[in-house]
Subunit: 240 residues, 2 copies
Amino acid sequence: MSQATVDACFSPYLYPVYRDDNSVVVIIDILRATSAICTAFEHGVEKIIPVATVEEAREYQAKGYLAAAEREAVPVEGFPFGNSPYSYMGDHIKGQTIVLTTTNGTQAINAAKDAHKVIIGAFTNISAVCEYLVAQDRNVLLLCSGWKNKFNLEDALFAGAVTEQLVKHPEKFKLQDAALALSYLYQQAKEDPLKFLSKASHKERLAKLGLKDDIKYCLQPDQTREIPVLENGALVRMKW
Amino acid sequence: MSQATVDACFSPYLYPVYRDDNSVVVIIDILRATSAICTAFEHGVEKIIPVATVEEAREYQAKGYLAAAEREAVPVEGFPFGNSPYSYMGDHIKGQTIVLTTTNGTQAINAAKDAHKVIIGAFTNISAVCEYLVAQDRNVLLLCSGWKNKFNLEDALFAGAVTEQLVKHPEKFKLQDAALALSYLYQQAKEDPLKFLSKASHKERLAKLGLKDDIKYCLQPDQTREIPVLENGALVRMKW
């Protein structure tokens, strides 16, 4: 194969325009779904079943599954936790199958489910994700979950950080316009990502909820080498 | 009114997510539809009727209208011109009503037609557009036409340039995430916009077609004070 393309889609709503079922799609929801999912695999979760609606999560719960649900940045009533990464550490996670629904991230996973590979990316596993992408001969689509289908800054920041790694291999990758924009954007952000995000709407939303520790955690790179991958409708640990 | 919001939508396909009928929507298609439309008003066109399809343009043509059509960056067969700004200068323009269809720009105009105001923005009229926006107490949505519903770099560049002007009025405007990203992006671009666009896909496409002069023209700011505005389905000269 000649050069693979690197492109970015800033909203699950826009995915049909970017859809390329031969590509590797990286699902991005930095605050906080994909960060939390990576944390869960680092802490030994067996499988995460992403579902689009709270109702589906309740149905699984009624069948005895451990289920988690987040809407509007808080856990949904009746569920033990939402999408804070701190909820995905400890013995209650190990070996478990967890059903998960979130405002944005699980929608993006669902949108891309027919792609060649759907993997979960976050700062928490960024180096592993980039090494995996470089090792493939595949087009890469960075799918930002955004906030209710709108662009958000933290997902773009992460997509820019991945792009920065991929452009180190110009013989392999050609950036499309959205990825070009992200690579420029990342130049502005990399010195101080927290400052870069200081006016980001979802960061403000989480800070108001007292979740500043979650934000800091989600921006710390390389806390795991695990890459969650979608197989038969569930996220499992990638073997690579 | 308290602070107005400034937001950006990177594709007409995504417009339903951003739709706010109380806002002023700035339609952006730098290469080349909105640049050409501003040029036409500077050269005395009376009215431009944007239509979505080539078939509609042909119907108007059959009724005796002057019609222009572009697809895939070239004029459509049977029409005297497409969307090169150089086609919109001279006596054949003055006092005319022109029916226009283009690959991207006229789709964006159509998508936003129910907004409070729909105005046409390009580098060619950027200062007039910014002064107008500052004089309103309205939310601003920068609607990038993109390329076939995908993000493109030149429209983002212009939206960033507008954002840069609006943030000089922090008492009036609060940037949403997409506009924040654009303001960062513009910091990387402003020293040398042509270099910034050197790898942009549509610039490459136009350069291959020998249209480098069009690109240079479309990046030259402030060639007109005219602001085309949508009224009753047609673009006319704004009186303000």
